[in-house]
C-alpha cells in the first residue's frame, strides 16, 4: 500500500513544486504551493507523523501560504509590470547546478538503509510532545523568542511610517 500512496503523493508534491517555479503569475504559484504542501502532509501521514502532518496543513497551508496570498493581493502588481523572465545562460547554469545537486543527493541516499528495529510512533502527538517538553525544552522556548522577533520585525518593516 505504501509504495502506491508514496508514488501518488510524491508525484503531486513534485508536480506542485514544478508549477510553483514555472508560473508567471504569483497567485497561480501560491495555489500550486498549497497543492505541493498538502501532498507533503500526506507523506507525513504515511510515515506515521500525524502531528507534523496536522501542523504542516495548519501552519503552512493555513498560515504561510495565506500570508503569501495576502501580500500578493496587497501589492497587486499589474500583469504588465511583472518581471520579464527570459532564458539566459546564467539561468541554464543555475538549473544545471540544481540538477547536479539533485543527482548528488540521489547518489548519497541511494543505499541508505534504516536499522531493522521496530518503527515506533515517533511522529504522534505523544511522542513529539514528550520530546519537545523534555529533551528539547530549551530549543522550544527559544523558538518563541524567534517568533516574537519575527512578529516585531514584520510589524516594523511593513509599517508605512517608521
Amino acid at each position: 500500500m505504501e509504495p502506491i500512496l508514496f508514488t501518488l503523493f510524491g508525484a503531486i508534491a513534485v508536480g506542485g513544486a514544478l508549477l510553483v517555479v514555472t508560473r508567471k503569475n504569483p497567485m497561480s504559484a501560491a495555489l500550486s504551493l498549497i497543492m505541493s504542501l498538502f501532498a507533503v502532509a500526506a507523506l507525513f501521514v504515511l510515515r506515521q507523523a500525524h502531528f507534523l502532518a496536522a501542523i504542516q496543513v495548519i501552519v503552512y497551508a493555513g498560515a504561510v501560504v495565506v500570508l503569501f496570498i495576502f501580500v500578493i493581493m496587497l501589492i497587486n502588481v499589474p500583469e504588465n509590470r511583472l518581471p520579464i523572465e527570459k532564458p539566459t545562460v546564467y539561468r541554464l547554469l543555475g538549473v544545471v547546478a540544481a540538477g547536479l545537486l539533485m543527482i548528488e543527493g540521489g547518489l548519497a541516499s541511494r543505499n541508505f538503509s534504516a536499522p531493522a528495529t521496530a518503527v515506533g510512533e515517533v511522529g504522534s502527538v505523544e511522542a513529539v510532545g514528550h520530546a519537545l517538553f523534555t529533551d528539547y525544552l530549551f530549543a522550544f522556548e527559544v523558538t518563541s523568542v524567534l517568533l516574537l522577533a519575527a512578529v516585531v520585525g514584520a510589524t516594523v518593516l511593513a509599517k508605512k511610517k517608521i
Binding site: A97, L100, L101, E104, G105
Partner: protein, 690 residues
C-alpha cells in the same frame, strides 16, 4: 662600617648602581620638570652663547628641582667613588697574584656556545680606571653644577652625564668583551648626546653626528675583533680568553696571523674611540659640547677607552708584533701630527682638543712598544691635568661670557687668579716639567719608546719633538690667555670675574693631583719604587709571558736594570720642553707681533696648518663624497627603478585584478544564491567521491 662591609667586593655592583640611580632620578626630573623645554615651541633661552654658563643672565630663585639635581648627580658619583676606593683598598690588601675579583650578577645571554653573564671584574687595571673615572668624574660633576647653573636643561644635562658615568663604569668594570662593548656603545651614545647638547646650534648637532658616525667605523672593527675572539676562543670573558691563550697557541689555532687580525681590528676600534689617525677628526669638533663634557668625556675618560682596551688585551697584542708596530707608529704619528695642528688654533678648547689627541697618541705609543703600564700611567696623569686644563678653560670661557677665541683674551691673570694658577700648574704638568705628574708618565713613555724591544730611537725622536711642540702650544695658550695686553671687547671686560667655588674647588683638587699624581710612579732610576708599574704587573706579565713563548725572546727584563741612557734621555726631553717654552715666551711675550709676521712669511704653510692639513676636506672628497654619490646612485637606480617598481607593480596588479573581480558582486540576490548552490554542489560532491 668597615666591619659591616667586611667584604666590600660583594658590593662592587654598587659602583654601577649609584650612577644608574642618578640616571633614573634625573631622567624622571628632566621629563617632569623640564618638559616645556622638550617641546619645539621653545625658542628663547638658547641664544648665541645661550648655555655657556653666562653669569649675567639675571639672578632669580633657583627652582627646587635644580637643587635636587645638583645634589643627586654629584652625590651618586661620590657614593660610587667611595665604594670604588673601599674596593681598591681591599684589593691592595690581597696578595698580588690573587688580585682579580669577578662578581657575577646575573646570566645575560645563553645562546648556543655563547654564554655571557653580566659580571664585574675588579683587578689592578680596572681599579685604576674606576678610581680615575669616579674621582675625576665626581670633580667634574661638582664643577658642572656651577658651570651649567644658568642652563635651562639642567636636569637633562646631568641625566646624560650620569648615564655616561654608568656606561663608562660598565666599560671598565665589565668582565667580558661583550660587556665592554655595551659600555663602549653607551659612552658613544652619551658622547653624541652631550656634544649635541645645544642641539639648536647647527654646528653642535653636526659635530655630534660626526662623532657618532666616525665612532661607528671604529666600533665595526671592535665588533669584528669580538667575533674573531669568540670564533676561536669560544668565550668572551677576559679571564677565560687569557687562560686559553697558551693552549690555543700550543694547538696551533692561535697563530701570529690570527692574533694580528684580532688585534688590528681591536685597534681600529681604539682609533675610533680614542681619536687616533685616521679617525681622530671627530674629537676637535666635539668641543661644541659644554666644557665639562669636553673635560670628562673627551679628555679624561671616554677617549682613553681605546687605551684601556689595548691594555686589557695586552696578552693578544704581545703575540702580534706587526700590530704592536702599527700601534706604536700610529701613536707617535698622531702625537706629532695633532701637536702640530694645535700650534695655530685660536679657539682655546680646540688647542686642548688637539693636545688631547696628541697625548692619546703617547699612550698608544707606550702600548705599542709594550709598555702598557706606562700607557695606563699616562692615562691617569693625563686624566688629571687635561681635566684640569679643560675645566680651567671652561672657567676662562665662563669669565669671558662665552668667548672662546684666544685672540680676544689676554691679561686674565689679574681677574681670575685661581683659574690662572691652577691652569698654569696643569700646563707645567703637560709640558713635562720635572716633579709634576706629566713628567713622570711622559718620560716613562719616552724612555720605553727608546729602550724597549719594540721601540726605536726614531720613535723616541718623534715623541720628543711632539713633547717640545706640546710645551710650545700650551704655553702659547697660557701667554695668550693670561698674560700680555688685554684684547677683550670692552663690554666683555666689564664682566670678567672669577668663577664660583663650585668651579674653582675642583680646579684646585685637580691641580693638586696634577702635581702629586705622578709620584705613584717615580721610576727606579730616580730612586722611586715605581709603585704604579708594580701594581699593574699582574695584568701585563701574562702578555709578556705569552710573547716570550711565541718568539722565544730572551732578556725581556731590560726594564729593571739601570741605564745611564735613561738620564740622558730624561734630560733631553726636559731640554726640549724648556726649548718649546722658551720659543713660546719669545714669540708671545717678548715679540708679540712676530707670530703674525711668520704666518705672513709662509702663507701656504700657515694655511695648511691652520686648516688642520685639510684632512677634513680630504675625507670629505675621498670618502664622504664617494659614499654620497653611491647612495644617490642606489637611490635613483636601485631604489626607484627596482624596489619601487616591484612594489608599485604589485599594487597595480592587485588593483587591476580587483577591478575585474569585483564585477562578480552584481548586487542581485539570485547570483549570490547561485554561488551558495555551487558551493553546496562541490561540498556534497566532495563528500560523495572523496
Amino acid at each position: 662600617m668597615v666591619s659591616a662591609l667586611s667584604n666590600i667586593h660583594e658590593y662592587l655592583w654598587l659602583i654601577l648602581a649609584f650612577p644608574l640611580a642618578g640616571v633614573v632620578l634625573n631622567g624622571i626630573i628632566a621629563l617632569v620638570a623640564e618638559r616645556p623645554l622638550l617641546l619645539p615651541a621653545d625658542g628663547h633661552g638658547h641664544d648665541d652663547h645661550g648655555g655657556h654658563g653666562d653669569a649675567h643672565g639675571g639672578h632669580h630663585e633657583t627652582p627646587a628641582y635644580r637643587k635636587l639635581v645638583a645634589f643627586i648627580a654629584p652625590g651618586m658619583i661620590f657614593a660610587a667613588f667611595v665604594v670604588a676606593v673601599l674596593s681598591v683598598l681591599q684589593l691592595t690588601r690581597m696578595p698580588a697574584e690573587a688580585r682579580t675579583v669577578v662578581q657575577t650578577l646575573f646570566p645575560w645571554i645563553q645562546a648556543g656556545g655563547l654564554s655571557v653573564s653580566v659580571a664585574l671584574q675588579l683587578d689592578p687595571l680596572s681599579s685604576v680606571m674606576i678610581l680615575v673615572v669616579t674621582g675625576v668624574g665626581f670633580l667634574i660633576h661638582v664643577y658642572s653644577v656651577g658651570y651649567m647653573s644658568h642652563e635651562p636643561a639642567f636636569a637633562r644635562f646631568f641625566f646624560y652625564l650620569n648615564l655616561f658615568m654608568f656606561s663608562m663604569l660598565t666599560l671598565v668594570l665589565g668582565s667580558s668583551y661583550l660587556l665592554m662593548f655595551v659600555g663602549w656603545e653607551g659612552v658613544g651614545l652619551c658622547s653624541y648626546l652631550l656634544i649635541g647638547f645645544w642641539y639648536e646650534k647647527d654646528s653642535a648637532s653636526t659635530a655630534g653626528k660626526k662623532a657618532f658616525v666616525v665612532n661607528r667605523v671604529g666600533d665595526f672593527g671592535f665588533l669584528l675583533a669580538m667575533f674573531l675572539v669568540f670564533w676561536n676562543f669560544g668565550t668572551l670573558n677576559y679571564t677565560d680568553v687569557m687562560a686559553k691563550i697558551p693552549s690555543l697557541q700550543h694547538s696551533g689555532i692561535l697563530t701570529t696571523g690570527l692574533a694580528t687580525a684580532i688585534t688590528l681590528l681591536m685597534f681600529v676600534g681604539a682609533t675610533g674611540k680614542s681619536a687616533q689617525i685616521p679617525l681622530y677628526v671627530w674629537l676637535p669638533d666635539a668641543m661644541e659640547g659644554p666644557t665639562p663634557v669636553s673635560a670628562l668625556i673627551h679628555a679624561a675618560t671616554m677617549v682613553t677607552a681605546g687605551v684601556y682596551m689595548v691594555a686589557r688585551s695586552n696578552a693578544l697584542f704581545m703575540l702580534a708584533p706587526f700590530t704592536m708596530g702599527t700601534v706604536a707608529v700610529i701613536g707617535a704619528a698622531t702625537a706629532i701630527f695633532a701637536a702640530s695642528m694645535g700650534i695655530c688654533q685660536k679657539d682655546i678648547k680646540r688647542v686642548l682638543a688637539y693636545s688631547t689627541v696628541s697625548q692619546l697618541g703617547y699612550m698608544f705609543l707606550a702600548c705599542g712598544v709594550g709598555a702598557f703600564g706606562a700607557g695606563i700611567f699616562h692615562l691617569m696623569t693625563h686624566a688629571f691635568f687635561k681635566a684640569l686644563l679643560f675645566l680651567g678653560s671652561g672657567s676662562v670661557i665662563h669669565a669671558m661670557s662665552g668667548e672662546q677665541d684666544m685672540m680676544k683674551m689676554g691679561s686674565l691673570r689679574k681677574h681670575t687668579p685661581i683659574t690662572f694658577w691652577t691652569m698654569f700648574i696643569g700646563t707645567l704638568a703637560i709640558a713635562g716639567i720635572p716633579g709634576l705628574a706629566g713628567f713622570f708618565s711622559k718620560d716613562e713613555i719616552l724612555w720605553r719608546a727608546f729602550s724597549s724591544d719594540h721601540g726605536s730611537p726614531f720613535l723616541w725622536a718623534v715623541a720628543a719633538v711632539a713633547a717640545g711642540t706640546t710645551a710650545f702650544y700650551m704655553f702659547r695658550l697660557i701667554f695668550l690667555t693670561f698674560f700680555g695686553a688685554s684684547r677683550m671687547d670692552k663690554e666683555v671686560e666689564k664682566h670678567v670675574h672669577e668663577s664660583p667655588f663650585s668651579m674653582t674647588i675642583p680646579l684646585m683638587v685637580l691641580a693638586a693631583l696634577s702635581i702629586c699624581g705622578g709620584w705613584l710612579g717615580i721610576p727606579a732610576a730616580l730612586g722611586g719604587s715605581n709603585y704604579f708599574e708594580k701594581w699593574l704587573e699582574p695584568i701585563f706579565e701574562g702578555g709578556h709571558k705569552a710573547a716570550e713563548a711565541a718568539t722565544e725572546a730572551i732578556g725581556h727584563g731590560a726594564m729593571a736594570h739601570h741605564d745611564p741612557m735613561e738620564f740622558i734621555l730624561m734630560g733631553a726631553s726636559v731640554a726640549v720642553a724648556l726649548f718649546g717654552i722658551a720659543i713660546a715666551y719669545y714669540l708671545y711675550m717678548v715679540r708679540p707681533e712676530k707670530p703674525a709676521k711668520i704666518a705672513e712669511g709662509n702663507p701656504n704653510l700657515y694655511r695648511l696648518v691652520y686648516n688642520k692639513y685639510f684632512v677634513d676636506e680630504l675625507y670629505e672628497w675621498l670618502i664622504i663624497r664617494r659614499i654620497v654619490d653611491w647612495s644617490i646612485w642606489l637611490w635613483q637606480m636601485f631604489d626607484v627603478q627596482f624596489i619601487d617598481a616591484i612594489v608599485n607593480g604589485v599594487a597595480k596588479t592587485v588593483r587591476s585584478a580587483g577591478d575585474e573581480t569585483r564585477k562578480i558582486q552584481t548586487g542581485v540576490v539570485g547570483n549570490y544564491a547561485f554561488s551558495i548552490l555551487l558551493g553546496a554542489v562541490f561540498i556534497v560532491g566532495y563528500l560523495i567521491w572523496r
